[in-house]
Symmetry: C2
Subunit: 204 residues, 2 copies
């Protein structure tokens, strides 16, 4: 079977993911999104009543993309849930390389610009960030049970903390135009998780 | 002596800090900044050749404001540099309350929208974020020396990691329209620093 042809809707979502990560949501016009996608303005408004609606669809697609990517990554084959969780964190750290716009987060970018002014878009970004982060909770819970780890923190809060560190690391990368500080921050997160689970690296 | 009267330049910087934190940089027009500041467009362009130049001045003022605020906070009176560092982190956590636009970061907001398109503004945000974060390095270094803490990490990277967590916590707050997840994330950071320095809370 030949791969399914990309629809105009899919092209527009792909264009939004690319251009908004580079320039932000408010600086990107419908005209630019159409040019990037190679579709007409008529096609745009056939699929999306407004740029905000495309942003909402892109945030949803972003979450599905992340969950498919990380859900099928090699570390998911580990038998110990702690190894899966640490594998996820190392995988995220190792992605922090190359062009800043290619490893940063669509939803985290959009929400900064829309949280006060576009409530539906904010809610879509919330669902995108939470909807990915919370996929980690079952493995964190299972790892705590298996390794006997208590502590005055919830597994949900640790899952969201991984998102906080990554989102903040993206901001450091944008400010410094490079990935070094972001990677260091991901290393601090990995060191923290290892300490929480009593599995420090020898030289940590 | 009467307090010095705020100049048009200062009013515009104050307006930028307020409005950009609410709506983002690209969504804010020169007209809106003038209206918020109560100054004429002529006064704007007398002081700033462009909105970008006001953004640069606001990022610089933001850093000076942060360094004055945190540099004179009560915890700075602690004799042990570790207590000063932990005091800073607890103070930052305790600020995560109330209106999201009032506790989030101007420079972290602007840099998301400008890092690829406005290099001078990106550089000003870099200087603002780094120029505040690195004020923590002397206390972290002194705390490591005093408490005999080694580890495969630099004090500079830990100072920048505090910024990563805070900046990411702001994104969680924006996405969820509330401070709870941000505070949880700051608590994880404090727990991490306590573990690094072998000072865990009893119930951590």
């Amino acid at each position: 079977m030949a791969p399914a042809k990309e629809t105009a809707r899919e092209k527009l979502i792909g264009a939004a993911v690319k251009v908004v990560r580079e320039r932000g949501f408010n600086a990107t016009s419908v005209d630019e999104l159409c040019r990037e996608a190679g579709v007409t303005k008529g096609a745009f408004f056939h699929h999306f009543p407004s740029k905000t609606d495309l942003g909402i669809a892109a945030a949803e697609a972003w979450k599905l993309h992340a969950n498919a990517l990380f859900g099928s990554a090699p570390y998911m084959a580990h038998e110990d849930p702690l190894d899966r969780f640490l594998g996820y964190l190392e995988f995220r750290r190792d992605m922090l390389t190359g062009e800043v716009s290619e490893f940063t987060c669509l939803a985290g970018t959009i929400v900064q610009e829309s949280y006060e002014t576009l409530p539906d878009l904010r809610e879509a970004c919330h669902d995108s960030i939470w909807g990915h982060a919370l996929t980690l909770v079952p493995d964190i819970e299972a790892a705590r049970a298996r390794h006997g780890i208590g502590g005055a923190w919830t597994s949900e809060s640790l899952a969201l903390h991984t998102q906080a560190v990554l989102q903040g690391a993206f901001i450091l990368a944008k400010a410094s135009h490079g990935a070094a500080a972001a990677r260091d921050s991901a290393d601090h997160l990995i060191r923290y998780v290892r300490m929480l689970f009593n599995k420090p690296e020898k030289d940590a």
